[in-house]
């Protein structure tokens, strides 16, 4: 177990090192002059040159990479040429918002997806199954930006049920920071007004972000349930007179969950990437929105930092999924 964990962590480190090379090269070979952009439309050549020197853009690429890597190893992601702010500080501000949205979305996709999958399998070929299959096909087929706009127009504007964007009601100050997740912090501090506001603001972006994952989980869960239900040991359990609820909960669900857990783990990384669009439409102040604002100004450091953060999360999620196999399936041994 520990050897396995050590090996996998080493692999994560190597993956991230490779990622730094890739994002650095891609950022720097893309045509663009960040110093000129940062200096402004009427900047003098002297101003442009000063900014280039200040941010080390006049140095060779290997030297720039070495400085960058040294900084990353010390937890320093450099400075944004566009805003002149420390990228590490910005990530600390924006990452909790994204993680809160992604965790909430994952929870939504996992709970609803598994529930829908079980229901679809349990009521196979009934109207409920057909309805849930329609939802799962729609979740994959409908573009997220369209769904986001439709939900804003219908749920937020037409029926005025939920807010159209942001993390909290505009006049409301964020709850005292403990985790950086507004919903959790509001719960922990007993700030019930903020709980309601944070929850209602989460619903629409989470629905949009979860739609493809919810669809995938539902389909996977349904297929695995149907596959497991037809296994001999389930038939045997039934023959032995075990209650149906026990059979489904103990023998079918647990075995059917394994591929679904893998899928949910993989969707985590995808969701982090997907926040770029959702955060832009719903004005969710997370790293996705931060990456968009930075990339249009050829501001490399924030873009590289966001990529690395997402890469790290993706790698760690995969590791957690691998470890969860052992919990769900005692036959799995880590060697």
């Amino acid at each position: 177990m520990w050897v396995f964990l050590g090996k996998r962590l080493l692999l994560v480190l190597l993956t991230l090192l490779g990622l730094t090379v890739v994002v650095f090269v891609v950022s720097h070979v893309t045509p663009g002059d960040p110093a000129r952009l940062a200096a402004g439309p009427d900047a003098s050549q002297e101003q442009i040159a000063l900014i280039r020197t200040e941010f080390g853009l006049d140095r060779s690429l290997p030297v720039q990479y070495a400085i960058y890597l040294k900084g990353v190893l010390q937890g320093n992601f450099g400075r944004s040429i566009r805003t002149r702010r420390d990228v590490s500080d910005d990530i600390k501000v924006f990452l909790p918002a994204t993680l809160e949205l992604v965790f909430f979305t994952m929870g939504l996709a996992a709970v609803l997806g598994i529930l829908f999958g079980i229901l679809a399998a349990a009521y196979r070929d009934t109207w409920l199954d057909h309805l849930l299959r329609l939802v799962s096909i729609g979740g994959v087929a409908v573009p997220m930006f369209w769904l986001a706009l439709m939900l804003q127009l219908l749920i937020a504007l037409k029926f005025n049920l939920l807010p159209s964007g942001g993390r909290l009601a505009i006049a409301m100050s964020p709850p005292t920071t403990i985790t950086g997740f507004f919903l959790v912090d509001a719960l922990l501090t007993g700030n019930w007004a903020a709980v309601g506001s944070a929850l209602t603001h989460l619903v629409l972006p989470a629905l949009v972000l979860s739609s493809p994952s919810l669809a995938a989980v539902t389909r996977m869960m349904r297929a695995d349930m149907l596959d497991t239900i037809s296994r001999e040991y389930v038939v045997n359990a039934r023959a032995n007179g075990l209650p149906e609820r026990l059979i489904v909960a103990k023998y079918v669900l647990k075995n059917a969950l394994i591929p679904t857990v893998t899928l949910i783990g993989l969707r985590y990384g995808w969701m982090l990437g997907g926040t770029v669009l959702v955060e832009t439409v719903f004005d969710w102040p997370g790293i996705g929105l931060y990456a968009v604002q930075s990339s249009v100004a050829a501001d490399f450091m924030p873009v590289m930092a966001v990529t690395l953060v997402i890469g790290l999360n993706f790698a760690l999620a995969n590791l957690v999924v691998d470890l969860l196999y052992g919990v769900l399936d005692p036959r799995v041994r880590y060697a």
């Binding site: 000129r36 200096a39 009427d42 702010r85 504007l157 832009t280 719903f282 004005d283 604002q293």
Partner: protein, 530 residues
């Protein structure tokens, strides 16, 4: 099992819906009897330092928390005394003396002194960022004098007639407050990113980076307020998407928005409780030719294209909410020469110039580059493509992300035949346009000079005009310069689109000034009256 799930699910759905139905923001908020306006804006303010950044969103808040010696107000913009109750210019036009208003005080309660003005000037010159471009060649440390605590004097290194027009963008900081918050000799840069050290009418109440900024009115603002119903503060909320801005305005989540699509302005203006402020701007659209390389280096080719364009299309793209440019300087800017022989659609003349250029039958390809995502520029490209087809010229339309487009324009060799560019003058003087776009000394600066235009006579006259004290003499030269430039056809002058803001009816006092950047709002003027 079936029946046990359903009540739970229904309860959850009801609970979420009930929370949603809880009273949502009806635009402005009321706090302690004060009305707090909600402004939905597309662009964040990542760095508020007045000596580092200048763009429309940043300047909206900078104007709120800082004062300048003078201020631009109204249309046409007038220079109104602000921190300086008066100023005088020496006979030779080289020394400017500003008398500081003795009532002026910072939000800390400290009086604003000439030392603060000097410090602010020095800080700009030392940092060499953002607004420094306005002063770098004109002023140095030795130019700045403080004869007494209420008098500030600046002696120019060389004559520069538009100097006074640049002064409103020099925001004054409290030197004591800035230096008290400086770390590692950073001149207070880190602190000033999200804090203010000014004397302006609003102070920062809440700063949520990348999300919203809340400012509250300084009740005993030293300059006083124009209306007793002035806003008690405002929340600058980042709303990136045009569609989201529209929804926020209609849903009652915002009082004022600035970034709707042209069609959306048409759609919301008929909604109850919504009004549109619309004013002719000074941001001009031009198709810049590469005047030094390729076929467009030939003046007759440039003229042929200038005559081929369908100018009505420029206005139609904005549903009529734009006016055509009539030369290099917008009509709304002083110094504009009327009755210039500008180009208008005339295919016969276009063919004439094509023949003069040695290409009577066309038969060549040109490249038109625009910013990916800017719909107006794409449509103009399509109109151009259609018109040039009539001359047997093929147009290659290329959409590039903004960074790549700026990179293409940074050298003559990489500059395409034509590039779509929007330009906003930074101060209200013809020099803000002519010296940065049509003087060969500006080549390689920023990206306003991507046409690489050079006419020695124009260079000479621009240099001459910017040092003359007498406006009458300057104006004559500017008229001559414009005629010379029009004759050379270095770019296609497009349109000045109207600036528009959509707002709730209860927002009063909106004061437009064309010298403001796109989207910029002078919050000091606003009131809420139901």
């Amino acid at each position: 099992m079936r029946t046990r799930w359903l009540p739970g699910i229904l309860l959850l759905a009801l609970a979420i819906t009930a929370l949603g139905i809880a009273p949502e923001a009806q635009a402005f908020q009321v706090r302690d009897g004060q009305k707090i306006l909600i402004f939905g804006a597309r662009q964040a303010v990542p760095n508020l330092d007045p000596h580092v950044k200048t763009d429309w969103s940043t300047r909206t808040i900078q104007q709120s928390v800082y004062d300048g010696l003078l201020k631009y107000e109204g249309n046409p913009p007038k220079l109104v005394p602000w921190l300086a109750e008066s100023y005088s210019v020496s006979k030779d036009g080289m020394t400017y003396t500003f008398k500081i208003d003795k009532r002026a005080k910072f939000q800390t309660g400290e009086p604003v002194t000439a030392y603060d003005v000097k410090f602010s000037f020095q800080r700009i010159m030392d940092l060499k960022l953002g607004p420094a471009v306005l002063f770098m060649d004109i002023v140095d440390r030795e130019s700045l004098q403080v004869p007494d605590i209420h008098t500030f004097q600046v002696s120019l290194k060389k004559p520069y007639a538009p100097f006074i027009s640049t002064i409103p963008w020099l925001f004054i900081v409290s030197w004591k407050q800035v230096m008290a918050n400086a770390v590692d000799n950073d001149y207070g840069q880190k602190w000033l990113m999200s804090n203010a050290a000014g004397s302006g009418p609003f102070k920062i109440r809440r700063w949520e980076q990348g999300n919203l900024y809340e400012l509250e009115a300084v009740e005993n603002y030293w300059k006083g307020w124009k209306s007793p119903k002035h806003i008690g503060g405002y929340i600058f909320k980042l709303i990136q998407e045009s569609s989201s801005q529209k929804i926020s305005l209609l849903k009652g989540e915002a009082d004022l928005v600035e970034g709707l699509q042209p069609d959306d302005y048409e759609a919301v203006k008929t909604e109850k409780g919504v009004k549109i402020e619309e004013h002719p701007g000074v941001t001009n659209f031009a198709i810049k030719f590469n005047n030094q390389k390729g076929l467009t280096a030939n003046q007759d080719i440039r003229k042929a294209i200038s005559y081929a364009i369908d100018y009505d299309a420029f206005v139609k793209i904005y549903n009529g909410h734009a006016v055509l440019m009539e030369g290099p300087i917008p009509k709304t800017l002083k110094g504009h020469a009327s009755k210039l022989p500008v180009y208008r659609t005339d295919l016969a003349k276009a063919k004439e110039h094509l023949a003069k250029a040695g290409h009577p039958n066309g038969g060549f390809t040109l490249e038109y580059v625009y910013v990916a995502g800017l719909e107006e520029e794409r449509l103009i490209g399509l109109v151009l493509l259609d018109q040039l087809k009539k001359l047997n010229i093929t147009l290659n339309i290329v959409a590039l992300p903004w960074p790549q487009m700026v990179a293409r324009g940074s050298k003559i060799e990489t500059m395409p035949d034509m590039m779509a560019v929007f330009v906003t003058p930074q101060f209200f003087d013809p020099d803000a346009i002519l010296s940065l776009q049509f003087h060969s000394g500006a080549w390689g600066r920023g990206y306003y000079s991507v046409a690489y235009y050079k006419n020695p006579k124009v260079d000479e006259l621009i240099d001459k005009a910017r040092v003359l004290k007498d406006w009458g003499q300057r104006e004559k030269l500017y008229h001559e310069i414009q005629r010379l430039i029009v004759e050379d056809a270095p770019e296609v002058w497009g349109m000045l689109f109207n600036r528009r803001w959509a707002m709730r009816q209860h927002v009063k006092g909106f004061l437009f000034s064309p010298v403001h950047y796109t989207g910029e709002v002078d919050m000091y003027q606003l009131a809420i009256e139901e």
